[in-house]
Symmetry: C2
Subunit: 247 residues, 2 copies
């Protein structure tokens, strides 16, 4: 554990307890930083955990701005929403947001771009409405997945490949940052959801895959991935494997 950075003792992440989802981008920053945190909703309900913890945050103003949806991060008086804002703020406190203002701006742009891909990947299985079951939008999902895996995925991989580092470095330069962690999660998620399509396109993006491998080998990340704290990918998260969508 690194020194204590949270005013309140530990960071408190509030996110759905049964899936990786967008909360995983925050978990990865906390884990790589070695920051002390509680994944609040994964505590037993008797200790304030469970889905109710998420619903309470969604309803309450708490101090600060009420955010529309999880993940939320509490650190003393600071309460943050929006995955990109949480990761940027947290990473800056732990030396994972770039070495200067130019790098920090680059990190913010890359993070939003990575989250754009996450949204598109999500929308392949829920193209019509998040409130409908997959089965009720299956035909549209198949059409959406076809466009995603054949047109968008190669475009995205080509884009990230042009900005990925060569020769053992990180997206922002010499130092790893939260956008490397986010790119790791994106690639892992895409490979889980679309194994055939990713295998087909993998040769376009060797430098991207190398970043993923380097992140996976970081000691704290490796230890996290081996721990029960890392939830498995599943069909409740953002990245879902439905064989008919992997075309």
């Amino acid at each position: 554990m690194v020194e204590q950075h949270s005013e309140g003792g530990r960071y408190e992440l509030v996110y759905w307890p049964f899936l990786q989802g967008r909360g995983e981008f925050v978990r990865l920053v906390l884990e790589d930083a070695g920051a002390p945190y509680v994944d609040v909703a994964r505590l037993p309900q008797s200790q304030g955990g469970g889905v109710q913890a998420v619903l309470d945050m969604r309803r309450d103003a708490a101090p600060g701005l009420r955010a529309f949806a999880p993940p939320y991060l509490r650190a003393g008086d600071v309460v943050l929403g929006q995955t990109a804002v949480i990761c940027d703020w947290l990473a800056a406190r732990h030396g994972l947001a770039g070495a200067n203002e130019v790098q920090r701006l680059a990190a913010r742009q890359l993070m939003l771009t990575i989250l754009d891909v996450v949204d598109e990947a999500h929308d392949t299985h829920h193209p019509v409405a998040s409130s409908l079951y997959f089965e009720d939008q299956r035909d549209a999902a198949i059409a959406a997945a076809r466009a995603f895996t054949r047109e968008r995925l190669p475009e995205w991989l080509d884009y990230f490949e042009t900005i990925a580092p060569r020769g053992g470095h990180w997206l922002l330069g010499d130092r790893a940052s939260y956008v490397d962690l986010a790119l790791f999660q994106l690639v892992e998620g895409l490979e889980y959801a679309f194994p055939a399509a990713m295998a087909r396109h993998a040769s376009r993006a060797p430098a991207v895959l190398a970043v993923r491998d380097r992140v996976r080998a970081r000691p704290r990340i490796a230890s996290y991935l081996d721990s029960p704290r890392r939830l498995p990918f599943n069909e409740d998260g953002v990245f879902r494997h439905y064989p008919e969508l992997d075309c």
Copy 2:
């Protein structure tokens, strides 16, 4: 015009020349700040304008990080992508990003939340793929619009109403910021795209509509809206009016 803030003389916005889209959020900040700028792609092609200007930015690394998609902002050596990043950076230089760090964090969260709604509104007319014509995804679009106008729109309006100010103020407090401008644009866009649904739900969000009205009355914004620089809403932008989707 306020004093010159751009290193290079004037800011250069590079965005599709025939639609408001996400670029409009940047235009509103530039206009409200009274900042000198060129809307590059709206220049004649002989002066470096036209769609080609956007395509060139998309391809070139330029100095700094290549961004995946427009809008882009150039200011001397600074080249930025991602609407939220551009607005935050630009607004901070012109006193439109909050008075302190807490407000700036709140602004970032709100901006991303507003852009989440923009994405959802876009996805009503292109639920399956951006690369397909509306006509080729019309049935899915009608289903998506139904979920949006009946479920999501009231949820979003209720959310913004809980954080909207009472009594003549702005989202962050006493001073207007770029998120007020963005909320204005969101409401205008939603009213253009979904006039019947917005009329049905308007009574949920009086404080939101009051912010919209106050933004519209800001002298530089009023002057901009009356000028030919303000492109009309149309069916190429993010907010599109298709009567069958306004349910």
